[in-house]
Symmetry: C2
Subunit: 329 residues, 2 copies
C-alpha cells in the first residue's frame, strides 16, 4: 500500500472512516488481523470493471454494493463470517472526485451493514475503464469451510432465494427491450433492476451452510453452469427439475410472456444466491433454519452417480442448455 500525496489525501478523506481497528487508519503500509481462537481465515478475491461487470453510468453506491457483495457472497457460501476487506481502486482521468466520494460513502454503508470493515487499500491511475478489486477475508471454525467437492449421491440440491432476476435485470438496466419485458409492471422492472444492481450476499446463511451443506458455492455465472462445476468437483451427476427452481413473481411474469427467457434465467448469472447440497435427512431442518434467517431454500434436484452432464427437465420434458454459463471473455 504505497501512497503518493494525492492518493494519501484521497484515502484519508474518503476511506479512513471505513477502517477496521487493524486497518490502522489506513495510515501504515499494511494492516493487522488475527482470527478468533480455533478459527481459520477464508479468503477470496473478485474484481469488477466498468463496462464489463457494471455500467458506466451506474450509481456509484450500487457499484460499491456489487464490488463488496460479490466477495461476501463467496464467503457466505463457504460458511465463513466476514472479518474485513482490502480494496484496490483504479480510477481514470475522467472520473470525478464526486464519483469516488459517493462510491466511498456507499461502500461505507454496505461495509457497516454487513459488518465487514476496510483493512487497507491502494488507489491507482487506470488507463481506460475504472476497476475495483476487492479481497475479502472471513473466518470459519477450523476444518469447517464448506467446499465444492463434498456432494454425495442421494443429496438434495438446493438454492437460496430466487434465480434469474439479476440476469433479466441486466437487459432492462442497459435499455434493451426484450419480448419478455413488454407487459411487465413497473414494480417488476424495479425489482429485476435492483437485483442486478445490488446483490445481497447471504451472510445470514453462513452458519447454516457450515452446519448442513455437504458442498456449496455461490451463484455468479449462472445456475446451470455453476451447478455443473460443483457436481464435477464432487465427481457426481444429478437430476434437476427446473420447474422447482424458485423464481420471483417478476421472473414468472417474464417467463409467461416469452418462454425463451428460461435460458437467461437459468444461465445468465449475477444471482449471488447459495447453491448447496444437503442430505435428505437434514432437508426439513435446513428449510426451517433458513426460513428462520429470513431466506427461502428450495430443493431443485437430486445428486446421482456418474460424471455425465446432469439431466434437466421442465414439467416432465427434457431440456438442454447450449451455453450453461455467462462469460465476459
Amino acid at each position: 500500500m504505497s501512497g503518493n500525496l494525492s492518493e494519501h489525501g484521497l484515502i484519508n478523506a474518503l476511506f479512513a472512516p471505513l477502517a477496521a481497528p487493524g486497518g490502522l487508519g489506513l495510515l501504515d503500509d499494511a494492516a493487522l488481523l488475527k482470527p478468533s481462537p480455533g478459527y481459520e481465515i477464508v479468503m477470496t478475491v473478485d474484481a469488477i470493471v466498468s463496462g464489463v461487470h457494471f455500467l458506466h453510468d451506474d450509481n456509484p453506491g450500487d457499484v460499491a454494493c456489487k464490488a463488496l457483495g460479490v466477495n461476501l457472497s463467496d464467503l457466505a457460501a463457504k460458511g465463513a463470517e466476514p472479518l474485513g476487506f482490502l480494496l484496490s481502486l483504479g480510477v481514470n482521468d475522467a472520473w470525478s472526485q464526486d464519483w469516488i466520494a459517493t462510491f466511498a460513502r456507499g461502500l461505507g454503508a454496505v461495509s457497516t451493514q454487513w459488518r465487514c470493515p476496510l483493512y487497507g487499500g491502494d488507489t491507482v491511475r487506470a488507463v481506460g475503464a475504472p476497476f475495483i478489486s476487492i479481497t475479502a477475508l472471513g473466518e470459519v471454525p477450523e476444518g469447517k469451510m464448506v467446499r465444492r467437492n463434498g456432494a454425495n449421491v442421494g443429496d438434495y440440491i438446493c438454492v437460496s432465494g430466487t434465480i434469474g432476476d439479476a440476469a433479466l435485470g441486466l437487459f432492462l438496466a442497459r435499455g434493451d427491450e426484450p419480448a419478455w419485458a413488454t407487459s411487465l409492471s413497473n414494480a417488476d422492472w424495479q425489482l429485476l433492476i435492483m437485483r442486478y444492481h445490488r446483490p445481497q450476499p447471504r451472510i445470514a446463511l453462513a452458519p447454516f451452510v457450515r452446519n448442513y451443506a455437504t458442498a456449496a458455492m455461490d451463484l455468479s455465472d449462472g445456475l446451470i453452469g455453476d451447478m455443473e462445476k460443483l457436481l464435477k468437483a464432487s465427481g457426481v451427476s444429478a437430476e434437476v427439475t427446473l420447474e422447482n427452481v424458485p423464481l420471483s413473481q417478476a421472473a414468472r411474469n417474464a417467463l409467461s410472456n416469452d418462454a425463451t427467457c428460461l435460458d437467461t434465467i437459468m444461465c445468465g448469472g449475477d444471482d449471488y444466491e447459495i447453491l448447496c447440497t444437503v442430505s435428505p435427512a437434514s432437508y426439513t431442518k435446513v428449510v426451517t433454519t433458513a426460513a428462520a434467517a429470513g431466506v427461502e431454500f428450495h430443493r431443485i434436484g437430486t445428486v446421482t452417480e456418474g460424471q455425465e452432464t446432469p439431466s434437466y427437465s421442465y414439467n416432465g420434458k427434457p431440456v438442454q442448455f447450449a451455453k450453461p454459463s455467462f462469460s465476459h471473455f
Copy 2:
C-alpha cells in the same frame, strides 16, 4: 473468485502450479489460511497498471516480479514473513495467451524464490490497459509488527541497499537520453534498468526489522517523500546528510555527469528498499546483522524534535526538494 469457463481454463492451466495447499488448487470459491500459533496476519494490497507502473512492452516475467515484489517489500518493512498472495488480473482483448503464460511462469519463479505461494485469483476482462492487483499476506509474532509511527528523538535513520537506481533506470528503460546517462558504461545502464524492472523485496531483513527498528516502511515513492511520511507519522523531524545516502557506482557515475539528477535519485521512487529508525545503542548490531543477511545498511540522518520539514544537507550545504514524492496522478 467466480469463474467462467475460459477463465477456469486459464487458471487451471497457468496458475494452478503456483497454488499453496490452502489455495485448494484454485478450484474452489475461496482459500484457507491459518497463522502460526502466537502469530498474527499482516496484509497489504498494491496494484500496477500497464502504461503507469510498467511499460507496455516490458518482459512479462519482469512485470510479475514487480507486481509481487512491491507487495512483499511492504511485508518485509513491517517485519512480516510472507505466507502467500491473491491475484487479480485484468487482461484486455489485445493481450495474448503467450503474454499471460510467460507472466504466470515468471510469477511462479518469484513466488517460489520468495516462498510466497498463490492462494486465489480472479481473471477479468480489462477495458483499456491491463492491470494486476495483488494482496499479500504475511505473519508476525503477535504485537511485533513495526509501524511508521515509532521513531524516537535521537534514533538513527537508516536505509538498506542503494537508493535512486530504479528511478534512473526508468528513464533508460523508456528510451530517454538524459544528460547524466551519456557517458555511462553498458554495465551501468543494465544495472539501473534491472533495478527498475526487478525490485528485490528485502524479505531477508524482516526478522532484523522486527527486532531492531523503532519505525519502518518500504521506499516506493521516493526516499525524501517517504521519509517525511514516516517522520510525520512519528511526530518528529530529522537532520539528514544526503552524502551518506548509499548509491550504487552507476548512480554515482550519473551524479558526477550531471549533479541535477540528485532530485531523481532522492525523490524518484521505485527503490523498494527499507527505511527504518533504530536506537544509537543498537546501530552497530543492526549493521552487522544486516550484513550477515547480505544487505548493507547505512545511517543517513538523526531523528530530531519538532514537526517541521527535515533539514537536508549535501556536503555541508542545505538542500531543498520541490517535489519530494513521485506521483502517478
